[in-house]
């Protein structure tokens, strides 16, 4: 990629949706054209073959399809490349669970507020305690000890077994909690129905657990250690960061781990543009650049490289990872309209479910933006593909469903023939 393209990429994805930059603009990333992982794979397919041979083909297939748990299992062994690959899988799963935890927390917050405002929030039973627990787990800064303290503070004896599972999960033993996540934490007889609530902290605990696994795989210094060594293609491929230098710079600038590759610089934009319009225009510009870059790589690719570019949809994958990270950054800075526009354009609509171009994080972030914009029913629709792949999201979808029903309870329904 030309340096000017790199400048543009950097400029585009730091753009704020208002007129004023939110902070000091950082320098756009210098992007050596052939250092980018897309170029490495396409121009040097032998490096990709070596990566596959030194780690696990099945592991990378699983990772490419966002089956991070399976990838973690397959990247076995103590070789540095395998450990880094395992760290990538754990890191990606931690991001996904964090995205789900944020959504779960916001859903609970809104549910409690809406229900309380109606004056019908159950004053007895498990609801008040679970709501309080959910509020604790909604805090993104909560750590393992904090999470365990939150469980202890509930004082509910039957939940001690679940708290123990959380204890294991935050240390990296996530399987027990995963198995328990589909069972209600509380099931109480209501007026002709059984009221159920699921574990409101499950995604937070899983995020901490997978973070612990990433740290273990990348010991002793976790993600930061990557930049102190040759992170290899296994540290870059399918990532939102294109190169080691980009990752290093982002970490040096204290960009949060989950936003690396998504926030680089800021751009002053015309004030009268809506956040959606601006985001869409930026993505159009990005797409123009990527199209040129892709064509250039295709032209220079040796035998095998072009097939990898096409079959693994490498440029498209980078695009979607980058847009997802940018959207995550937008959500972190309370810009849901911008986030939603980026995510709508990132999504591969020809695939209805999770696919190499539609990550679970993309869906979770889309649902979060929709929730923040009041489009709660649409958020539920967005999450539907997660139901099978992530059965632990059952509690989240049930609570989101409760909110949908509450929000529409006053409405007079409308229906039409198509």
């Amino acid at each position: 990629m030309r340096a000017s393209s790199a400048l543009l990429l950097g400029a585009i994805f730091g753009a704020s949706c208002g007129s004023a930059p939110e902070g000091p603009a950082s320098d756009a990333l210098p992007l050596p054209p052939d250092e980018a992982w897309v170029a490495q794979v396409v121009l040097h397919p032998e490096r990709f073959s070596a990566l596959i041979e030194s780690t696990s083909r099945e592991g990378w297939i699983a990772y490419h399809s966002h089956r991070y748990g399976e990838a973690w299992d397959r990247f076995g062994g103590d070789a540095p490349a395998a450990r880094r690959a395992r760290g990538r899988a754990a890191w990606s799963m931690a991001r996904t669970q964090e995205d789900l935890a944020r959504l779960y927390g916001e859903t609970w917050t809104r549910l409690t507020a809406t229900w309380t405002a109606r004056g019908t929030f159950p004053a007895s039973g498990g609801a008040p305690t679970i709501s309080a627990l959910a509020a604790r787990c909604a805090d993104p800064a909560i750590d393992g000890p904090g999470l365990l303290a939150a469980w202890g503070d509930t004082g509910v004896a039957p939940w001690e077994a679940v708290a123990l599972l959380h204890h294991g999960a935050v240390g990296g033993e996530v399987d027990g909690l995963l198995r328990a996540a589909s069972t209600p934490l509380a099931a109480e007889q209501g007026d002709g129905f059984v009221r159920t609530f699921y574990d409101p902290c499950v995604h937070r605990a899983l995020a901490l657990g997978w973070e612990a696994r990433a740290d273990e795989a990348l010991a002793p210094d976790g993600l930061r250690a990557w930049t102190a060594q040759d992170i290899g293609l296994e540290g870059l491929i399918f990532a939102p960061w294109l190169s080691t230098s980009e990752l290093t710079k982002a970490l040096d600038q204290h960009v949060p781990d989950d936003q690396i590759g998504g926030t680089v610089a800021t751009l002053a934009a015309p004030t009268s543009m809506t956040p959606q319009q601006l985001a869409r225009e930026e993505v159009r510009q990005l797409d123009s650049e990527l199209l040129r870059w892709r064509a250039d790589l295709k032209e220079r690719a040796p035998a095998g490289g072009e097939e990898l570019l096409t079959q693994l949809t490498l440029a498209e994958r980078y695009r979607v990872e980058h847009l997802t990270a940018a959207a995550r950054a937008a959500i972190a800075t309370s810009k849901p309209r911008r986030a939603l526009a980026l995510l709508e354009l990132a999504r591969d609509v020809s695939e209805p479910g999770i696919s190499p171009l539609n990550s679970p994080s993309l869906l979770a972030l889309t649902a979060t933006a929709q929730l923040q914009l009041g489009h709660t029913r649409e958020a539920l629709d967005t999450l539907q593909p997660l139901r099978e792949a992530y059965p632990e999201t059952l509690g989240l979808t049930e609570v989101l469903g409760d909110l949908v029903v509450l929000e529409s309870m006053n409405r007079q329904g409308d229906s039409k023939e198509n």
């Binding site: 709508e344 029913r377 029903v405």
Partner: protein, 506 residues
């Protein structure tokens, strides 16, 4: 390109948008046949009404109720009365002033049994309405209403055009010459079923599009070509099979249009033979629904009257299997006998008429597939493709059909009362189950979200067991727009609610 250049590009784009504006042309599969909001039964009518008419309240972009023709509203302490002050200075498209009289007339017209409005159920919470002067309306409700503004979104009509009677006929000329207070007025209801609208110069607010044209284009392939070749700016709904091609076109952008919509094949239980659940179940089990869906693209197969993402969908209800052997045993149990290659009863062949809307390419494909599948199993199928007016007459009013293929689309309430309650205004399949009626009544009264979910999941299971319909599928819904159309936010049901802010750069 440097960031400065990008800035300049963006600024240029803005300038071009503000310099002038171009019309918006959009495609519908099925043209509206009646633009009178009292008789809206299809999504294309509802979408067009959104451009022409207004309610007292509407949704803002975060789906909160905000005043539109209302200015302010105040509720009584017991929540049974709402006093609404109306917006001043609003005029109808014929320049007559909008007043409280219009609101009172509208409510009474919707609720007048002689009018037989298909929308009457949306106002059945209103006990009485009266005007106090020109700009104040007082509503009395049957029960306390927590947030009545959420229910006052129905479209307001001009009293002065209905000759003083609230018993409005479907054939009133208003059906093709509507007069609203909205940002666009209908100028022509054309012979080719297209509808032309122009910006209403007397509108109290702002809108950007100088003209809007609705074109009926039944062929989805043709719709996509018209968009790609810039003969249209908007496709309201794109089939899943066309999504990839449109997403790859750099002059087109896709917008989620997340309606809760499902396809079904409904039996007319008004006919004695279809009151036999074994016959209905047999027809369902003879069909390979996955094969029916294939020409349309991908979608979720359904087991009942909700889409899979619905909080009311009962995931414990098993999918109906394609099971011809079991279907044959059901037919035998229902008294049918296979004679040669034809099922017979009392000396007569088992023959059904299957109706669908004419010119709707996707429905036609499915109908022909159903015909082929059932005929290969010994059930003769006659297909009928009905025009819009004939459909409303034969299906909705006369209930003159055996089987229909159609689709229902729901707003976020997903209230299926009108379709499945024995008193429902959209229950033209004549389904009746007292237990389901009771559950639907309870669901409407439920104040606890989990209770409502539990009740409607029970309804799902009961309706699936009764099989008044073969529940088919739901599709991922996207609309497609030219990249020249800017500032687009699509309402998840009515589509055009926020079209006032849309711009189309020339």
């Amino acid at each position: 390109m440097s960031s400065a250049m990008l800035h300049s590009t963006l600024f240029g784009l803005l300038l071009s948008l503000s310099a002038s504006a171009a019309p918006l042309r959009y495609a519908e599969d099925r043209a509206p046949s009646n633009l009178n909001p009292l008789f809206t039964t299809t999504m294309s009518e509802a979408r067009l009404n959104e451009l022409v008419f207004e309610g007292l309240f509407t949704d803002d972009t975060e789906l909160r109720s905000v005043p539109l023709l209302a200015e302010t509203a105040s509720a009584s302490e017991d929540k049974r009365t709402l006093t609404v002050d109306l917006r001043r200075g609003v005029v109808w498209h014929d320049e007559a002033p909008f007043t409280a009289r219009d609101v009172v007339f509208t409510v009474e017209a919707y609720l007048n049994p002689t009018t037989a409005s298909s929308e009457a159920g949306r106002l059945d919470f209103i006990d009485a309405v009266k005007a106090e002067g020109d700009y104040t309306v007082v509503f009395k409700f049957k029960r306390p209403e927590w947030a009545p503004e959420d229910k006052l979104h129905f479209k307001i009509l001009p009293a002065h055009l209905f000759d003083g009677t609230t018993a409005v006929s479907r054939s009133h000329p208003f059906r093709t010459r509507p007069v609203g207070t909205g940002p666009w007025e209908v100028t022509h209801f054309n012979d080719d079923n297209s509808v032309s609208l122009q910006q209403f110069t007397g509108y109290y607010g702002k809108s950007q599009l100088p003209e809007v044209t609705m074109r009926e284009v039944a062929d989805k392939n043709y719709q996509a070509k018209l968009l790609i070749y810039e003969s249209l700016e908007t496709l309201v709904q794109v089939l899943p099979r066309d999504l990839a091609a449109l997403q790859n076109d750099r002059k087109v952008e896709l917008y989620p249009y997340q309606t809760n919509s499902w396809w079904y094949m409904g039996f007319n239980e008004g006919q004695e033979r279809f009151q036999d659940p074994q016959l209905r179940a047999a027809v369902g089990e003879l069909l390979d629904v996955g094969r029916l869906l294939a020409p349309i693209g991908t979608g979720d197969l359904l087991t009942g009257p909700f889409v899979k993402s619905s909080p009311f969908y009962n995931h414990d209800v098993p999918a109906q299997a394609h099971n011809p052997a079991h279907a044959r045993s059901l037919l035998e149990a229902a008294g049918y006998e296979l004679v040669g290659r034809q099922w017979m009863k009392d000396g007569a062949p088992l023959t059904v008429r299957l109706a669908a809307v004419e010119n709707l390419e996707t429905a036609q494909d499915v109908v022909l597939q159903v015909q082929a599948q059932l005929q290969s199993e010994g059930i003769a199928v006659q297909t009928e493709f009905l025009g819009n007016a004939e459909w409303k007459q034969r299906i909705w009013r006369d209930r003159d059909f055996d089987l229909i293929l159609s689709q229902w689309t729901f707003d976020r309430n997903e209230d299926i009362y009108e379709q499945f309650h024995s008193k429902g205004s959209r229950n033209f399949v004549s389904y009746a189950n007292p237990a389901v009626d009771a559950l639907l009544d309870q669901a409407r009264q439920a104040q606890d979200p989990q209770q409502k979910k539990a009740i409607l999941r029970e309804v799902h299971a009961a309706v699936a067991a009764d099989a008044p319909m073969v529940f088919l599928w739901t599709l991922d819904n996207y609309s497609a727009m030219s990249t020249r159309v800017q500032n687009v936010i699509v309402h998840p049901f009515y589509f055009f609610t926020w079209a006032r802010d849309w711009q189309n750069a020339p």
